[in-house]
Symmetry: C2
């Protein structure tokens, strides 16, 4: 037997469970070290809590607590409690103990997109301290509070319920309370976590958030009871299909009806497609409206998908499944946190990529408490989630760096901050860690349009300020001579110089300051 | 109940198959658009081919071909053929049609780490053109060549064999030939793909690689028949365990023996742990060597894992499972592609992170054909894979940017290129797209040490060049006056000035140039 034989015989093929895959590759979900893992754990829990409240029109009350279990071993306990709708009893084990299991696969905007984050946090706690996740949950009006301790069977990707008990819900509580004990570096993660909580408060001014960590306590009371309209579940947009989606949708429709026509299929399944639109499209694409969807070959499906993508006359996807913050709330949030001299915001009309609708919101803030920086300060948000890592590879950074800011009268260093917010039923993240948005051309385009529009407004503001500044300068210059002129007039007329001084000051103020740039001609 | 009702029905929990997860989240594996997807497809196929050859001491012969199926629809066919060991008949469907299935879960260095890439390419082809992957494969000495066409059942994560046939292997061929038809933007991906092929040729000088695309043909003949020693399958290093791994290893050992002692466990399972090392460690950690591993509680496992991580006297992990290029081959590769004036390389001793051994290799190249740049040109490699995207968030960039290069006599712009190569049984990638390496502290440290050592060597070279330059300047200056002196001597002596000129030139050359910096004192 040669070495080659041995090497070949050693070759062994097998499958990994999703839990084992992510246990082995935890970096890709952002759990690369005790600093990042702690930050990521807080994020996953807070975002689940926000989704469990505001999606159901409940004003969020969220309590976050980090405490040391052992300071020298870097072991911390993270506890997050909300007043949300809770998790159905029978779903609890899978929601916390089975990778790829969740409720977040619908076509609507939510913070958690992957159904993965919380399981990664459970996995990480389990592998660093061996301890299970503790979950307490109750639905509204539930008579009982359920308490679980859950581990993950990594090899089988199945939950292990370590303990379960039920208690009387005497106080009529509802919500979810999760506790995880993990290796986490609080002193290094502290500033990121605080920044994260702060920015979350900016983007969700209707939430009450309290945060308690070793040596720190923060409280962000709710600033408004106005909560954005929760998104409804949407249908796919025809511009963003692929063959695979088409096949799945056809199989789905066929399972409940017989002999569905192409026209019926388009109208029933897709967003914003009425009879008229369907027929116009089919005529353009060269298909009869009465063809049964069963009869389409792979080649025809390919052709159809391509033509659906290419057709220019679909309606824009409806924003029902999205929940942007809106210009008013965005401006409020920015004012509250950044305290700028000037701020303006734009919420763009919905657009779509790959079948998913999205809305871009951009705010631009200038001066005030914003420090002067060498390039625009960037605060990124996606579905109301602050993004703090990997800015360098984010599409927003790319678009911002591609703009010649001198066109907008901005010379760096300048006190310029840009806030970008992408809402979508599916954010095109670059990694499972959900920190950087990929440069999808459609998103890039919307971002640039919004950025340029806000930049134009800022330019007008800067021009106005510059004019005011010039005027003020002129006012000051003229004021210097008022005393002298008054004295001269006093000598000539014999009247007291103070009278002239007062009168002259009044005139200058009126003509130069109030009259603005044009008033000075008469002086 | 209507279809719409069903689509929009209320909260619903369910599991996704891994195939569906990655179909929905293809960006995280680098398949975000037709440019990136084409590049990624080429990569996955080429890397599988390299692994199928050099891991088995076969000198790689790889043929890559991209051709248009439809130029206006942006549909291309990618075909990659190798002379590797082929894929066992019964494994073919799963290897191409089941996410998380593969042979790459062993503890040894290989290019493909996730067992995911090729399935993503198959998924992407399927969703953009509806066409299956074509696979032709034969093992060495196989009498038959097997040909499959495979699709993926996304909902069930199972392969669908669309066609299968077998042919006589009359020519005694072995290897694998894969063809994929997908939407891909060749004109935009072209430069990246060419760069990728070029860099692959740099890091694998023992491979013969040919590339053919629309309007381009490249050929990189093998530069040497020397192939690095293939890695063997390794054991985990004790410094990098976690509780979960410990539990898995104990379960594994228990399944074949009874009552294994802690000492036996350590010796059998871990890399570089003999009886003596095991006993020293257990004494230090406060455990009796004869304790049965069954008896350990979760708390003890936690404590044990922590102490195994913290113990300072383990042997360094053995590099048997790694296959670095080596300083000689690295320098050769760099010379061939970058054509610098100066190049030096370092292969560091093996180290480990999280239980995985790794080796860092760094080369620094200066001058020659390297253009002057504002910051070091960086060429990154991981397990012999060129990394072309996401440089901004890579640990190499971070370490390089953290170095004050003026210490090493380098003032930018400068013709400086840095080549980094990380070999590991598991590269800590930041994303499934395998483009950026996470900043694991152990890797960061090794990179910095290697970088600073190569930089010191470069500094010595630059100092030498500066001295030579000074000398040359002096030589030129002195040479200017030789004619005059010779004429003066000719007038005085009556001899021909040419004689003096020749003699003087000889003296100057000998003293100034050959004698270097010190010789000039005698002039």
């Amino acid at each position: 037997m040669t070495i080659l034989d041995e090497l070949l015989s050693a070759e062994e093929f097998r499958g990994l469970s999703p839990a084992e895959f992510f246990y082995r590759n935890r970096e890709i979900a952002g759990f690369s070290n005790p600093v990042r893992a702690l930050y990521q754990t807080v994020r996953e829990l807070v975002e689940n809590s926000l989704d469990a409240t505001e999606l159901y029109r409940i004003l969020p009350d969220i309590h976050v607590r980090i405490s040391y279990v052992s300071r020298e071993k870097n072991i911390v306990k993270v506890s997050v409690r909300d007043n949300g709708i809770g998790i159905p009893l029978k779903e609890v084990p899978n929601v916390f103990g089975k990778v790829f299991y969740g409720s977040k696969y619908k076509l609507r905007q939510s913070r958690g997109v992957f159904g993965l984050g919380i399981k990664m946090a459970v996995l990480y706690a389990q592998m660093t301290t061996g301890s299970p996740v503790l979950v307490r949950t109750a639905s509204p009006k539930s008579k009982n509070v359920h308490e679980f301790q859950i581990l993950i069977d990594i090899t089988r990707n199945e939950p292990i319920v370590v303990s379960y008990k039920t208690m009387n819900n005497t106080r009529g509580w509802h919500g979810t309370h999760v506790e995880l004990t993990l290796e986490g570096n609080w002193s290094s993660a502290r500033s990121r976590i605080v920044e994260y909580i702060k920015r979350t408060a900016l983007i969700a001014p209707y939430a009450s958030i309290s945060f308690e960590g070793p040596g720190i306590e923060l409280s962000f009371p709710r600033a408004t009871k106005k909560i954005p309209v929760p998104p409804s579940v949407g249908k796919p947009h025809p511009r963003g299909v692929d063959i695979e989606l088409l096949k799945q949708l056809i199989a789905y429709v066929n399972s409940s009806n017989q002999a569905v026509t192409l026209e019926d299929f388009l109208v029933k399944v897709f967003d914003g497609v009425g009879r008229k639109t369907a027929r116009s499209f089919l005529k353009w694409a060269g298909y009869g409206p009465a063809i049964s969807i069963d009869e389409l070959s792979i080649e025809q499906l390919d052709d159809l998908a391509r033509k659906m993508k290419g057709y220019g006359k679909w309606r824009r996807p409806r924003p029902l499944s999205l929940s942007p913050l809106g210009e008013e709330l965005l401006v409020k949030g920015v004012r509250k946190i950044l305290k700028p001299e000037f701020v303006t915001a734009i919420t763009r009309k919905p657009s779509s990529y790959g079948g998913y609708p999205f809305v871009v919101e951009v705010a631009i803030a200038w001066g005030g408490d914003i420090p002067s920086v060498d390039r625009p300060l960037l605060l990124r948000f996606a579905n109301k989630i602050p993004l703090l890592y990997d800015e360098g590879v984010d599409v927003s950074r790319k678009v911002i760096d591609g703009i010649d800011w001198s066109v907008y009268k901005i010379k760096f260093p300048a006190p310029l901050a840009i806030i970008t917010h992408l809402c979508s039923t599916k954010i095109p993240f670059k990694g499972v860690g959900k920190e950087a948005i990929a440069d999808v051309p459609e998103v890039e385009r919307e971002l640039e349009i919004a950025l340029r529009e806000t930049a134009r407004r800022l330019k007008r503001h800067i021009s106005r300020i510059e004019r005011q500044y010039e005027v003020k300068l002129r006012y000051i210059t003229i004021n210097k001579y008022i005393g002298e002129i008054a004295r001269a007039l006093s000598v000539i007329t014999g009247k007291e110089s103070k009278v002239f001084e007062k009168k002259l000051s009044e005139i200058v103020e009126q003509k130069v300051l109030k009259g603005g740039g044009r008033g000075n001609e008469s002086l």
